[in-house]
C-alpha cells in the first residue's frame, strides 16, 4: 500500500445510479503491488473536516500498461456526492491497494467462475471476470440491479456479456441473481467456483447455494471503515475460529473471504 496524490482522468455516470471514476496510478507499480480484484483504495473526498473519514472503494479495473485504476461507486451521501462532482484534472488523495483480494484465496486461479454481483458489487466482479479470462479461464457474470435505469452502460459489458437481472423485471431476467442461480442445472454449474460481491443477503445466498452443491464460494464483504489499514478494529466481520468465533477485519483479512469462514447471521 502507498499514500499518494494523483489526478482524476475521468468521472462519469454509467447509469442513473452508478459512476465510474478513473485515475492515474501513482502508487507502487511493481507487479506484486498493483491493484487486484477484490482489493480497494480509500479516497479523501474533502480537504475539510466534513465529511471526515476517507471512503473505501473497490477497484473495478486496472490497466497496468497505461497505469490507470478505476472504481465504480454509487452516489448515496455527502461524500460520494462530492466525489461525483470531480472532473478530469482534479486532484485525488489515494491510499491503496488495500485488503485481501480474490487472488489470495485458496485454489486461485479458479479456472471457471460464476461472478455474482449486486449493486456496486459489479465493479470488482467485472475486474475478476476480466482477470479470469485473461488467465485462460471462463467467467460468467451475473449482475443484479434494482431496475432498468440502474443497469450500467460500460464498454466492458459488451465483451463480458453478463446475465442481467432486475428486481422489478424491467430489464433482463426478473428477480435477483439468486433466482438465476436456482435455475442452473448440474451440468451448468459443475466445476464452477462462485465469487460474489454485493449486499450481505446476496453474498449469503451465494454461500448457501454453493454449499448445497459442494462448490467453493468466495465473497467480498462490505463494512463501515475508519482507517482502512487494520489499525482501528472498526470494520469487524464475525468469522469461525478454533473454539468458537472471532472477528476478522474487513479491511485487512478481508474484504474477500472464503464464504464458509463467515458466521452468517
Amino acid at each position: 500500500m502507498k499514500h499518494f496524490s494523483t489526478t482524476t482522468l475521468s468521472n462519469a455516470a454509467v447509469s442513473d445510479s452508478f459512476f465510474e471514476l478513473t485515475f492515474a496510478w501513482n502508487g507502487d507499480d511493481s507487479a506484486a503491488n498493483v491493484p487486484r480484484p477484490g482489493q480497494f483504495c480509500t479516497l479523501r473526498v474533502s480537504p475539510f473536516s466534513a465529511p471526515l473519514l476517507r471512503r473505501p472503494f473497490a477497484f473495478s479495473a486496472f490497466d497496468a500498461g497505461r497505469g490507470i485504476a478505476s472504481i465504480i461507486y454509487k452516489r448515496r451521501g455527502p461524500a460520494t456526492g462530492l466525489l461525483s462532482a470531480k472532473t478530469k484534472g482534479d486532484p485525488l488523495d489515494v491510499i491503496g491497494p488495500l485488503g485481501t483480494g480474490f487472488h489470495q484465496m485458496p485454489r486461485y486461479p479458479f479456472g471457471k467462475v460464476l461472478c455474482i454481483a449486486g449493486g456496486t458489487g459489479f465493479g470488482p466482479m467485472l475486474f475478476c471476470a476480466t482477470e479470469t479470462i485473461a488467465a485462460g479461464g471462463i467467467a460468467q457474470v451475473v449482475l443484479g440491479c434494482r431496475t432498468k435505469s440502474h443497469v450500467p452502460k460500460i464498454a466492458l459489458l459488451d465483451t463480458l456479456r453478463p446475465v442481467i437481472t432486475t428486481d422489478d423485471a424491467t430489464f433482463g431476467l426478473g428477480g435477483t441473481p439468486l433466482d438465476y442461480l436456482a435455475k442452473l442445472t448440474e451440468d451448468e454449474y459443475t466445476g464452477v467456483t462462485v465469487l460474489a460481491c454485493g449486499p450481505t443477503p446476496l453474498c449469503r445466498g451465494c454461500h448457501d447455494w454453493s454449499q448445497a452443491r459442494g462448490l467453493a464460494c468466495f465473497v467480498s464483504l462490505e463494512q463501515v471503515m475508519a482507517c482502512g489499514v487494520g489499525a482501528c478494529m472498526g470494520c469487524a466481520i464475525k468469522v469461525a475460529a478454533t473454539g468458537g468465533q472471532a472477528y476478522a477485519r474487513a479491511c485487512t483479512e478481508g474484504p474477500v473471504f472464503e464464504s464458509k469462514r463467515i458466521l452468517w447471521t
Partner: protein, 302 residues
C-alpha cells in the same frame, strides 16, 4: 529549538504522539509513515486476556467527528508481547503501552507482565474508555479510585505512568489532581466524549451498546478547555488530545498548557498528519524564537 519533552524518567524526542486506538500496534502504518517524525506511539489498549470487542457497527461518522464503540478489542498482554512488541521495539519512537482492565488487579497484572519488556518507554493508564461495561470510564470518574489505582501501579513500576482522563465528568481538574496524588507522571487529556446517534428510520441507536465515544475535530475546543483547566491544577505535564488535525490545532493545545500532544482520529484521514503537525510546531517555535516547550506556556495567564 529543543522540542524534547520529559515525562517522568523518559524523554520524548518531540511532543507529537499518535493516540491509542488510532495506530494499532504500529505495523499497520508501516508502509505509510516515517516513524522518526513521531515522538511516541501510544498502542492500542492492552488487557490481561484477549478481547473480541463489541458487535457491529462500531463506527459512525458524525459532524466533523466519529462515534466509535470498538470495545477495547485487543490480542491480550501475552500475544501483545510475543507478536506485537518485537515490531514496536524496532521503531525509532517511544513506545507507550496503553493499559486497560476491569479491576485494579487486572491493571496491575498487565503492568507486571509488561515490566519484562525492555523496549517499553512507559504506560498510559486507560481509565476513560466509554465502551466497556466494567472498568474503563467507571474508574476514571471517581477521584479516590483514580488515586488508589495510580498508587497501586506506582509501586509496580518506575517507568512513566500517564493517566488518560475522561472528559465525561463535572470537574476534570479534580480527577487530574487525584492521578497526581497517586504518583502519576503525566495525564493525557482527553479521551472521547459519550455520544449517541439514532437511526430515525429504525427508531433505535445506531451502535449496539447505544452510546459510543465521540472524537475528531468536533471535540477540539472541549479538549483545549480541559487542557487549560488541568494544566493549571497539576504540576505534572499534560498531554493534549482531541481533534488535532494540523499544526495550528496542536499549537492551541500547547498554548493552553500542554507539554505534548497526540493525534487521534486525524490519523484515519491522513496518516501523515503527525509529520505535518510536527513541522507546524517547529516552524512556529522558530518564528517565535522559542527555545523549549515550556516557552509555549507563558502567553495565557492562569
Amino acid at each position: 529549538m529543543d522540542l524534547s519533552v520529559a515525562i517522568g524518567s523518559t524523554t520524548l524526542s518531540n511532543p507529537v504522539g499518535v493516540a491509542s486506538g488510532t495506530f494499532g500496534y504500529g505495523s499497520e502504518y508501516e508502509d505509510l509513515i516515517d516513524f522518526s517524525a513521531i515522538g511516541a506511539l501510544y498502542t492500542k489498549a492492552v488487557t490481561l486476556a484477549p478481547r473480541p470487542g463489541n458487535d457491529m457497527p462500531r463506527i459512525v461518522e458524525t459532524p466533523s467527528g466519529i462515534l466509535n464503540s470498538i470495545g477495547l478489542a485487543n490480542v491480550g498482554v501475552e500475544r501483545f508481547l510475543s507478536e506485537k512488541m518485537p515490531y514496536c521495539a524496532r521503531l525509532p519512537c517511544a513506545i507507550i503501552v496503553n493499559v486497560a482492565g476491569a479491576s485494579i488487579d487486572e491493571y496491575g497484572m498487565v503492568v507486571d507482565r509488561l515490566e519484562g519488556s525492555d523496549a517499553i518507554s512507559g504506560y498510559e493508564i486507560n481509565i476513560s474508555c466509554p465502551n466497556v461495561k466494567h472498568g474503563g470510564m467507571a474508574f476514571g470518574t471517581d477521584p479516590a479510585t483514580v488515586t488508589d489505582l495510580t498508587a497501586n501501579l506506582r509501586k509496580r513500576t518506575k517507568r512513566p505512568l500517564i493517566v488518560k482522563l475522561t472528559p465525561n465528568v463535572t470537574d476534570i481538574a479534580l480527577i487530574a489532581r487525584a492521578a497526581q496524588d497517586g504518583g502519576a507522571d503525566a495525564v493525557s487529556c482527553i479521551n472521547t466524549l459519550v455520544g449517541m446517534v439514532i437511526d430515525v428510520s429504525a427508531k433505535r441507536p445506531v451502535l449496539p451498546l447505544r452510546t459510543g465515544g465521540l472524537s475528531g475535530p468536533a471535540i477540539r475546543p472541549i479538549g483545549v478547555a480541559a487542557t487549560f483547566a488541568v494544566s493549571r491544577a497539576v504540576a505534572i505535564p499534560v498531554i493534549g488530545v482531541g481533534g488535532i488535525a494540523s499544526g495550528n490545532d496542536a499549537l492551541e493545545y500547547l498554548l493552553a498548557g500542554a507539554s505534548a500532544i497526540q493525534i487521534g482520529t486525524a490519523n484515519f484521514v491522513d496518516p501523515s498528519t503527525a509529520a505535518q503537525v510536527l513541522a507546524g510546531i517547529r516552524a512556529f517555535a522558530e518564528r517565535e524564537k522559542m527555545t523549549c516547550i515550556k516557552d509555549f506556556h507563558q502567553f495565557i495567564p492562569r
